[in-house]
Subunit: 611 residues, 2 copies
């Protein structure tokens, strides 16, 4: 008897069906997950390494026992072609085992800030000590800095001190000194760019930027998935995992630190330099990612009234986190606003310049969690909306991340349905912007009513296993349900997600005594926000009904803000002031919220729904 | 055939002869080394643990194999009653295996400084967060400090941050906060003394003091041997060991850190508190001990022109050194002056108040290395004298540390020789002050000539094995050479040691254009300096010939200076200024030094020797 198991491929977010006797590798091919498969599934090339996160699978084969250590097998590491599911499973496919690169957002606004970096470099020529001048090595260096450059330092980083005597002698007393505030944090014999690392650390994706601190020039940029996703797709699940034990929390922290180290090496490889040249790191992220990275307590983050352990900007030595850049370098964490509004939102407000606008401006960073700020005559109020992972392709039957083969655009003209996929590849699933498009188009075509109910009069609507479904790409084979579709359940998921955002906006408007049509500009940041069709977002009722010219999609503004803060102490100061200025409104504390949320679930304009 | 091996007992400094078939434990008893021996040498009580540092010994017995791990055996750990020497050996007897406590110097001048501690404590009552006030926990704490006490902090120590959310909730938002500069370094729910730890870290001995930071009251004090002695008796040997490999250097560092942790626990036990209550540590030590503790490079310390890696006052988190006090606490290292004049000398100058005297003042800290400063109308010049370990009882035939049974005073009246021992115990050896006394008395009695040659006309002078010897305590058995004596070689060792000091003083005097009889006061610090008979030191020509009323023995002034710097930021500042003010004279660079040294070797007044 054959049985079908459901396999959940992480971090891609794609799900597949696996029949008895089918390997995970075979299943991945059918599901459109591009796993490498050099030896043709013989367990020889070992290119299809993966980690079983959940679910029962076959025992390791001798090939796997040869390849993996007992510890690795214990941790769930297997070869995709050698492992057979015996139940529904969840597997993590590391980037090196995948052929399909993920589309992550690293581009965005351009840096428009005068460099004023926290670390400055100076060339110092010293005279070697002799009997007439017995000044200690480090003191000699500090004197040189003061005499030649007028720079008064009082401290030398311990790691720098530990190699300073040898370094100075090796370089014949000529060196390039990195100074941060009143501390010497690096010493090297050769000149070279003074590099900084900016990180936009998202729940799902990480974007990294290597920047020249002196001129603000970006030398390389790169995106990757956040491998912490193996501990939970959303922050609440991840925090729950961290609370299970100190070891678990340490493991979650180590996972992201290792990812950042990998990303840093890749950024350096691309720019032709080494991580030890990086003298400063800047991180913008949501409060949960912030706390999990720093090892701060998280229990109070998920317990009412949901407060951060710390909001002010934190600086510490990167080595204390295990981040491998220059040994004396610091990491600066942008300040948080509240338990669910973090430094990434502050960075986004900075980069988009939304924060000092005089008109009524709405700024959103759409993701698994969506932060929304309303800037009203210089006053800023923010909310955090639990939009959930539907926009990332989760909890959608054919959902997947924005990768090759994902449907990202849908147009319905009568009976004709047109779908565009990423890289124009054969469709293998649908990503967030595709779902939003589909829902808007189905609503416009009358296939969905205002309540989101699918009406059966369109030929593409079918009943499959008790669930109504709209077929986007029909399977050519007769009798099949269709390769990719949107189910009634998917529509409900999207309604909840968009309602969370729309309700958040509404609470902000009502708290400010303003109405949606007064908004002069809507700034949309984030990867998802970059790729959505704004008209569809308005049609679906996720965003207020306004002329399209009032919307501005700014890409990864959080990443840009992190880069600005990396190269400018003035921007850091501004970020701290900004974080203090923002008035956070806890939606759970808003008495009108439930009523507003229910109304926001309707498709179409929120204002119409009021009538 | 029986054969005798020579056994060197560390850190006591006593040497014994061990016949074939005799255990190290048996030898220790004969040599007057008080090793515990509860089971009577059956290898059962395991109280006679020791470590073989050098020399060939018998294989471990089954009893030892049961007791020690393979790693411990590898490191030389053995039971004294089970190990039989097969060659000359050197063994380290840890404090817990000894019955005879060491006399170490912890007392000295009284603290006469207004407390102005680097860490201040504040009581803060906070209001728990609710929906109307969602301020983050750490930010709330900082606001509380500012509002209630006007204290503006910008940082919270990472370790404090990691437990802060839980600590605040557990204490119901009432807490006692330790603030250092602009950083919160501790948080606790209960009030209690704010403790500080001051350490005088010597090459041979360590003195520790537990002090109440708020009122300067000393709660406990304790001395111990520096276990680094197993890596070499003097700093040069120890640095040589550290240069062998990074692992060795790390081992040397770990050895002293573990000793400091042990000392800290004992200090706390005595005062009825725990190390986690200690909020600040202050260390004064010579430059080599400073570098070995901090893991700084030492090669340049023993390579001309002998400069420190760093001289300025260094502060770092104690946790980064492995020192277990409050997790957020700092350790402050007093500034060094030169490669062989360290923060302990600065501390001594501060505590003795020698540094701001207007008269001509000489200040010495006598030890394995002797630092001497001449204060001349407010100007300070210093030298470092390689006095060697003779004053500690090393390189003296019957030499031992200042412990029970050591001869510390000698008086010769014609044919009568009187010896006083520590604790009035039966004599087992002679310590530094005893050797100095014996030499002075022998010189006065005409048994030694000015050149230090022993004249054979005294009945106590005998020739033993080619070396002339003066018997201090004759053995009652006929034909024996005497239980304790002074050999011609010992006299030479003492002459070299005292000449080093006298020559150093002379170089200082000549560099200042002053003569010895102009000195208004001679301040003598250090354990050895406390116990010497000043008249003997003058007679032997170690110190200038001056009225005895001009000498002041101040005990462990370095330890006192460390305590002053611990409780007062003003004293720290003064220490930094002082270290910069001192003009260090490298004796190796003084053209007259060899000539002066040769002349200083003569017994009697240096000035007479000039004629």
């Amino acid at each position: 008897m054959t049985k079908n198991y459901r396999i959940d491929f992480q971090p891609l977010g794609r799900r597949g069906e696996c029949a008895t006797g089918e390997s995970v590798q075979e299943c991945s091919l059918k599901a459109g997950v591009g796993m490498t498969n050099i030896c043709g599934g013989k367990g020889k090339c070992r290119s299809c390494r993966l980690r079983v996160l959940k679910g029962c699978v076959s025992e390791p084969t001798s090939s796997e026992r040869d390849f993996f250590s007992a510890q690795e097998l214990e941790a769930g590491w297997r070869l995709g072609c050698q492992v057979y599911p015996l139940a529904d499973c969840s597997v993590y496919v590391p980037p090196e085992s995948m052929t399909t690169p993920q589309r992550t957002q690293v581009e965005g606004l351009e840096i428009r800030v005068q460099p004023d970096p926290p670390v400055l470099c100076y060339k110092v020529d010293l005279v070697a000590p002799d009997l007439s001048d017995l000044t200690a090595d480090a003191d000699r260096l500090l004197q040189g800095l003061l005499q030649k450059h007028g720079v008064a330092c009082r401290k030398v980083d311990e790691a720098v001190l530990r190699s300073l005597s040898m370094d100075l002698r090796d370089s014949e007393w000529q060196c390039h000194v990195g100074v941060r505030s009143d501390e010497v944090i690096s010493l090297r014999s050769l000149p070279g760019p003074n590099l900084g690392l900016a990180i936009d650390l998202g729940t799902t994706k990480i974007a990294g930027y290597l920047v020249d601190l002196e001129n603000g020039k970006r030398l390389s940029s790169k995106g990757m998935m956040n491998p912490q996703i193996s501990f939970g797709e959303d922050v609440i699940t991840r925090i729950g995992e961290a609370l299970r034990s100190l070891e678990k929390a340490a493991e979650i922290q180590k996972t992201v630190v290792e990812a950042l180290n990998r990303l840093t090496r890749e950024l350096c490889d691309e720019a032709g330099c080494v991580p030890e040249q990086i003298l400063e790191a800047e991180v913008g992220c949501n409060t949960a990612m912030h706390h999990l990275l720093l090892g701060l307590p998280v229990k109070q983050l998920i317990t009412a009234p949901y407060v951060p352990a710390a909001s002010f900007a934190i600086e510490l030595k990167t080595r204390d986190l295990g981040l491998n850049i220059a040994p004396g370098a610091y990491i600066h964490m942008l300040p948080n606003v509240a338990g669910f509004v973090g430094g990434d939102h502050v960075a986004m407000l900075l980069a988009s310049e939304a924060f000092d606008r005089k008109e009524l401006v709405l700024a959103l960073d759409i993701g698994t969690n969506t932060e929304v700020s309303l800037i009203n005559e210089g006053r800023i109020a923010s909310v955090s909306c639990a939009s959930g992972p539907a926009f990332e392709g989760y909890q959608i039957k054919y959902g997947m991340r924005a990768a090759r083969g994902a449907i990202e655009r849908v147009r319905i003209n009568g009976n004709s349905v047109e779908c565009a996929t990423i890289d124009e590849a054969a469709p293998v699933g649908i990503c967030g912007s595709g779902v939003l498009d589909a829902v808007a188009q189905m609503y416009l075509a009358g296939i969905l009513d205002r309540g989101g109910r699918m009406i059966e009069r369109h030929p593409r609507v079918r009943n499959v296993g008790g669930d109504r479904q709209f077929i986007l790409c029909p399977d050519e084979r007769p009798g099949e349900e269709g390769l990719v579709g949107i189910t009634q359940k998917d529509i409900r998921q999207l309604q909840l997600a968009k309602a969370a955002i729309r309700a958040g906006i509404q609470v902000l408007l009502e708290a400010s005594g303003r109405s949606g049509d007064e908004i002069e500009e809507v700034i949309i940041a984030g990867a998802f926000g970059t790729y959505i069709d704004v008209q569809s977002a308005v049609t679906a009722g996720m965003l207020p009904k306004l002329p399209l010219s009032r919307f501005r999609q700014v890409g990864n503004a959080a990443g840009m803000g992190a880069q600005m803060a990396l190269i400018s102490s003035a921007v850091r100061k501004e970020a701290e002031n900004l974080a203090l200025r923002i008035r956070y409104i806890e939606l759970a504390g808003s008495p009108q919220f439930s009523k507003i949320f229910v109304r926001a679930c309707y498709l179409g304009d929120y204002e119409e729904g009021k009538g």
